[in-house]
Symmetry: C2
Subunit: 281 residues, 2 copies
């Protein structure tokens, strides 16, 4: 049976690269029969799974330089029933594509805000006076190169091959160890594994509202590999907390912690337990 | 003696509005003799104070809808010696300025990414097919209105008055309780008050690295009003943590917590204790 997988498009994005590398780890029929479905925004890839138009979505969660992808966290919180099936870590190497003959010709650089942020120092050094214009994805930006020798786009090496565009500069990311973490998300129960992700809101205006949820894990020596706050958007000082545990929710002490946690939180969403795979580009 | 205060410019930004409202709370000579210094980026306002070109900087920390201002946190971490003198909460009401005669004429909307994010639903509803272009500040965007009836800018009502530009739509923010929190930052020791802010990195690859720092506060029942993680930019999974305590660092139990905290952290920076004022536009 073929599996449809939603990702940020058009083809050539890092989300597509993560999806293809993930399929290679599965091999066999799954790899050969998978149907990749590009969507114009991260939110739409998640809606596609929630509404049954795709089986899975591969969405970026955080980058090692630019941090969390707010749209992924905010959309996952809004949708119900989505579970994490697998974590993926993809190394990121940015290239500059352009029809210009050299850097001096370039007046405008287009890319996804995360990619612009990850190449900030390189841009300040080599293209200090260009205009930077954010786009919905690194490959959506490629349309601006059509018939224009003063524009450039930051994207993957694979996009250069796919769209037959010249590479003007390679490995332009400011930090060589640039990686992005993705989640494979679906409606199936998560398979279990060494990481558990969850999010919760706390009752408003209760002093110490965050202390108790954190103590639940601390007293059981369960390590938090990540904690991220996002505004509830209701009023200043009210947050949702996204937490990754280095633990499997099937373990008794973790189950006890999650039961106790539910008594201190307003809304608690557990996105499941899963393993993380390191991918190769 | 006149006080020079750096803020994100050009004049008419919310950072300038926060600075003016802050000066009104001080009154007298300080208000009348203060010298406002607009800078093209938030990072540059903080560098200006670190390098002695300005006495104070007023910088946005977080918005109730869009969350943390990463540039403020990342720059404060890099610079030494800066202390928080005062917290400010400013209500935000966005307006749409344009020389267009109606919304149908508009093809492009310019503003700071935070303002575009805070009006996302309004834009999807009333201007679904326009191009959104981020700028360094809400008022920097105004230059695009010159001689162009197809462009609009999201900015403050005050900017409309300052630059004599027509208001096409008012109160367009998606959430009516939209507020931004600012910090007044300087080189003087912080004055003390009911909030304390700090940031730390934890030793790399030590399991449980975040549990111990959080326990330090939990066991003393010191409430964390906010916790925010930012990547160290070295490698995926290594974070800095920015924490706001609802407590004054001069209290003995808080001092004890901070001393113990230093034994579990790699680098610990305490930005001081201060009070928070609610401002009126």
């Amino acid at each position: 049976m073929s599996v449809s997988i939603a990702h940020l498009g058009p083809p050539g994005t890092y989300a597509e690269a993560a999806t293809l590398a993930y399929l290679r780890t599965l091999g066999g029929d799954t790899e050969s029969q998978a149907l990749l479905c590009p969507y114009p925004s991260i939110a739409q890839t998640l809606y596609a799974v929630a509404q049954g138009q795709a089986c899975l979505a591969v969405v970026p969660v955080e980058n090692s330089v630019e941090g969390s992808v707010a749209m992924t966290l905010d959309t996952l919180w809004q949708l119900d029933q989505l579970q994490i099936q697998q974590g993926l870590v993809l190394p990121i190497e940015h290239t500059l594509l352009s029809r210009a003959s050299d850097l001096a010709q370039i007046q405008t650089v287009y890319s996804h805000p995360q990619a612009l942020g990850q190449c900030q120092k390189w841009l300040e050094r080599y293209l200090p006076s260009v205009q930077l214009i954010p786009t919905n994805s690194t490959t959506e930006a490629l349309k601006y190169l059509e018939g224009d020798r003063t524009s450039a786009v930051i994207t993957s090496r694979r996009a250069a091959v796919l769209y037959n565009l010249p590479i003007l500069a390679s490995a332009i990311n400011d930090y060589p160890d640039n990686c992005t973490r993705f989640w494979v998300v679906g409606k199936e129960p998560s398979p279990g594994g060494s990481y558990t992700s969850l999010a919760f809101s706390t009752p408003a205006n209760v002093p110490g509202a965050l202390v108790k949820p954190l103590q639940v894990f601390a007293i059981r020596e369960i390590n938090l590999s990540r904690i991220e706050s996002r505004p509830t958007k209701r009023s200043l000082g009210e947050y949702l907390f996204f937490i990754d545990l280095e633990a499997n929710a099937s373990v008794a002490s973790v189950q006890a912690a999650l039961s106790e946690l539910a008594t201190y939180t307003e809304i608690l969403k557990i996105f499941g337990s899963y393993n993380v795979a390191s991918l190769q580009l």
